[in-house]
Symmetry: C2
Subunit: 291 residues, 2 copies
């Protein structure tokens, strides 16, 4: 047998969290948790050979590790303030370049490095696990996956697809979109960040909300990186690692700059409406770890 | 060349944190950070082949990963409430056993699993990076490495040495000692947890505090696991992974149960006073990652 999937990422999460649920304002199942003291906190890991190729410029590895985690904080509508970094370093790594990259990107993303640890790991297994801590604006509620309502506008914060050409390393967490929304007449009912691709992440939002969605294929914004690919729309739906926000906005909301309304929240089911106006099945795509 | 140490753990940390210091109540350099909203937060990583042998019972791996991180929260005098877990899983791992172990030990240690992530990694590179979040009792200050004062009692919360016989996996964070201290007339001026061994961790406390220490060799409590080893005292000083607390207590403090006073804080220098009453140099021992 070439390969056997013994269990999936979601199964593992379900097993770990099967016991008494965390008595937290927001526990597992969203992009971040919300602690009693108001800290919004999330964790994201990048691993050599899985999230980046061996030999990748270490400053870009650092950017991806920090950016992916900060994207989760953005998906909760919070402002990231600090990070903790688990640096798992194989022998022979250029520690100076990685450390400088971490310091650089923490400064660029305007977060402080609050702590972390540094440990040895096996050759070829460089990994960075980053915990990001943020806060909500005073009086604000966190955005969650649950909460989308019938008739909400389905909005993505920017163009999708083709990230594997290199953009997946140059993560830009959408703090700008969060800041704009917090300052304008824009009501977020639900949110998630697009790390595994719209095809995989939209169902997470609709399932958590107990609703459906209808997406207009022609309205999905396709990134320039995907336009040259054989199937640009397929790439936009399935490539993942766009780190744009997917939002369910109240119908009368202003749309954030650079964002696109790609459809609407419906009562149930997922539909992709093609060019000819015919609704088709939702594509099976997007990235999931299997073990 | 058989092996070349290119950089040390401390150098890497210094490089990462060389920029503008975190504007946090407590930033890098202690066992945990303290965020503005009062969250005490720390991160600890265990890696296959480094912190546990390949084939180790996965429930014990889970216990070690959670316990080591919670020990850091104890070292700040805080009460742990929740954890986030980065599970980096190689192919073929028994995910069910690891997940059950994580759930079991989170429940035993009375913390909730607030979130985390699950990613694939290389064969032989199983790793768990755990972030623990805790809180201080109302009005209490965190214990730090800095703060030890001339004349303070140097106290360890339990016996040391021989952890490599297996105890290093069965971590028991000293939440009991923290709780006792918070309820009794016991003033902590400085604290650190003994993860790398007294020989390595005491200098961290004294350097951060700008003081010295005199330790009575005969007063160092030696764990039963170390008594059968060729050099029990050397084992107690250098083996590491005891996860006991090392405390600098005000001279009139009550001592916590099971703890031992091993010496005193002095103005400068580190001395180990042998059986004959003669002060010797501080031993060079304890564990440090090098790359």
């Amino acid at each position: 047998m070439m390969c056997s999937v013994v269990f999936t990422e979601q199964q593992f999460i379900d097993w770990v969290t099967a016991g008494p649920r965390a008595a937290l304002p927001v526990g597992p199942g969203d992009d971040c948790a919300l602690l009693h003291d108001g800290t919004v906190i999330g964790l994201d890991t990048v691993v050599e050979g899985v999230h980046f190729a061996p030999g990748t410029d270490l400053a870009r590895v650092a950017r991806k590790a920090l950016g992916a985690c900060l994207s989760d904080v953005c998906a909760m509508g919070a402002v990231a303030e600090s990070v903790l970094v688990s640096a798992q370093l194989p022998p022979g790594l250029d520690g100076r370049a990685l450390a400088d990259g971490l310091a650089l990107w923490a400064a660029r993303f305007a977060v402080s490095i609050a702590g972390g640890d540094t440990v040895s790991t096996a050759p070829g297994a460089l990994a960075l696990a980053v915990t990001a801590c943020g806060r909500l604006p005073p009086g604000a509620q966190p955005w969650r996956r649950a909460g989308a309502q019938l008739g909400d506008l389905l909005v993505v914060s920017g163009p999708l697809g083709g990230s594997r050409g290199g953009r997946h390393l140059d993560v830009r967490p959408r703090a700008d979109t969060v800041a704009w929304i917090r300052c304008h007449d824009c009501t977020v009912h639900a949110a998630i960040d697009l790390s595994d691709g719209l095809a995989a992440d939209l169902p997470r939002l609709t399932e958590a909300s107990g609703v459906g969605a209808r997406v207009q294929a022609a309205a999905v914004p396709i990134h320039a990186d995907a336009r040259a690919l054989p199937s640009p729309l397929t790439a936009a739906l399935g490539d993942g690692e766009d780190f744009e926000l997917l939002l369910a906005l109240a119908p009368d909301s202003l749309l954030p700059p650079q964002s696109s309304c790609i459809g609407q929240i419906t009562a149930s089911g997922l539909e992709l409406v093609g060019e000819g106006g015919r609704a088709g099945a939702w594509p099976q795509a997007g990235y999931a770890h299997a073990f």
